[in-house]
Symmetry: C2
Subunit: 242 residues, 2 copies
DNA sequence: CTAGCACCTATAGCGTTGCTATATGAACTG
DNA sequence: CAGTTCATATAGCAACGCTATAGGTGCTAG
């Protein structure tokens, strides 16, 4: 069994590494296994990827592109919060489908290794939350909400991966998902006073305006004016009591 | 520099492994490093721990005991939800203080390796949530709430570990923490009708009664009666609309 | 068509890793 | 004091990540 064919050795190495990693069940994967499965000898690996970790980084990068593609692949429903639910579910499903890859991406994260992936995933989530904020459905800053939701999403996915596949209970995911979304979302039909979350509608409106401004690139204010204006808005929308 | 002294070799091995692991910054730690620092030769390690992984498991177990001790170490405040906040913060602080150990415990979790730790941590959280449920402050089953909160707690801690220490923003933790607690908690002063979460007070009362029953070991019902009664209670407290 | 030149790959082997077959010393038991 | 058990040490194996060196391949230049 070898991954021969017409593919260039670099690709064969990537696929061999991905396949072995996916079926390794946590056991370490040796460069010899990889090069043998790829039908290639050792120095080729080091020529193309410099390092064993370099090869694994490439595998992770490819996996992450797949993840991002999956996150973007559904049409926006017009209901941003509903889209965020789908994003969450996509994330969990990705982790359960490729647990080993997921553990490398999000489980073994260290400050010196790859926070870039986390930043990209956060940006993806924030992008969607901006729409919710612009529609006045958000209770907090989109960036903070994105970080918070993603963190919970990662935690849930890791917990589910840790469980034996037979007794995996996806209710943990939906429950945590809805809890997070509920907590960061403004009441849709709350009166002019404080809603159930304790945030005043002033705060909600400020957040919505902030998001709308950053999305529209309005040029009615000069850049210095805009900067100050946004700073005030930020102060309002993060004030503890409104 | 060696960890000599009067301690038995087994302890010296444990401490050496823990110390090297803590300062390894993710780099692999070799058995030779460990045995040298412990002032012991190779077979001693295998005699006591069987395996490199066995030694690491022992380190993790010790770390987990420290974690549990930290989680139990504060006096209950009488406000269960406030205690859960402190539990959450303790968890995050433990992870930030011993990131490498934490990553081994919660970052590299696999179904075949150590879900026992997760189960214990969940039990710890559930224990506290039972008090909240008994006080009528809970919106969902204590067990589900515990799993959900712990998952978010782990996710947040991993995210914070992944950030460079200089730009760590603990607001992510407090915000996610309060979001989770808010989402699973019943409104303290809501009327007899539905609260902000859409759960009826019947559900909250059922959950509270359930928790109180399981805590008190009341023997007013026979075991078979109790079993059926709890089943009904469970059905009520998990009904979608109440 | 050939010379030169990058580029890619292979042979062979270095130092280190996790681990063990075997032997030696110390401490208790009869 | 003989025998047994536990704990440690010496020496070395197979497998690991990685590389110094060299050989083949496809280009463009003359």
């Amino acid at each position: 069994m070898s991954l021969d064919g017409q593919l260039p050795p670099k690709m064969r190495l990537l696929r061999a590494a991905a396949e072995l990693l996916a079926n390794s069940a946590g056991a370490p994967v040796s460069t010899r296994q990889i090069t043998q499965l790829a039908g290639v000898s050792a120095p080729t690996l080091y020529h193309h990827f410099g390092d064993k970790e370099g090869l694994f980084d490439a595998v992770v990068a490819a996996g992450f592109e797949e993840y991002v593609a999956g996150e973007r692949d559904f049409a926006p429903s017009g209901q941003p919060l509903e889209d965020i639910r789908r994003m969450w579910d996509n994330h969990v499903q990705f982790g359960l489908n490729q647990p080993e890859l997921y553990l490398v991406m999000f489980g073994n994260i260290r400050p010196e290794s790859r926070p870039a992936i986390v930043a990209d995933a956060e940006a993806l989530m924030e992008e969607m939350l901006n729409k919710a904020a612009a529609a006045g459905q958000l209770n907090v800053q989109p960036r903070e909400a994105a970080r918070s939701i993603l963190a919970a999403n990662v935690g849930v996915t890791l917990m589910l991966i840790a469980e034996p596949a037979t007794e995996r209970n996806l209710e943990l995911s939906t429950m945590t998902r809805d809890a997070m979304i509920f907590a960061v979302s403004a009441e849709p039909a709350s009166g002019p006073a404080t809603g159930g979350t304790g945030k005043s509608s002033v705060v909600v409106a400020a957040i919505a305006l902030n998001a709308a401004l950053q999305a529209s690139h309005s040029d009615q204010l000069s850049s210095s004016e805009l900067k100050l204006f946004l700073e005030w808005l930020h102060r309002i929308s993060t004030s503890p009591a409104g």
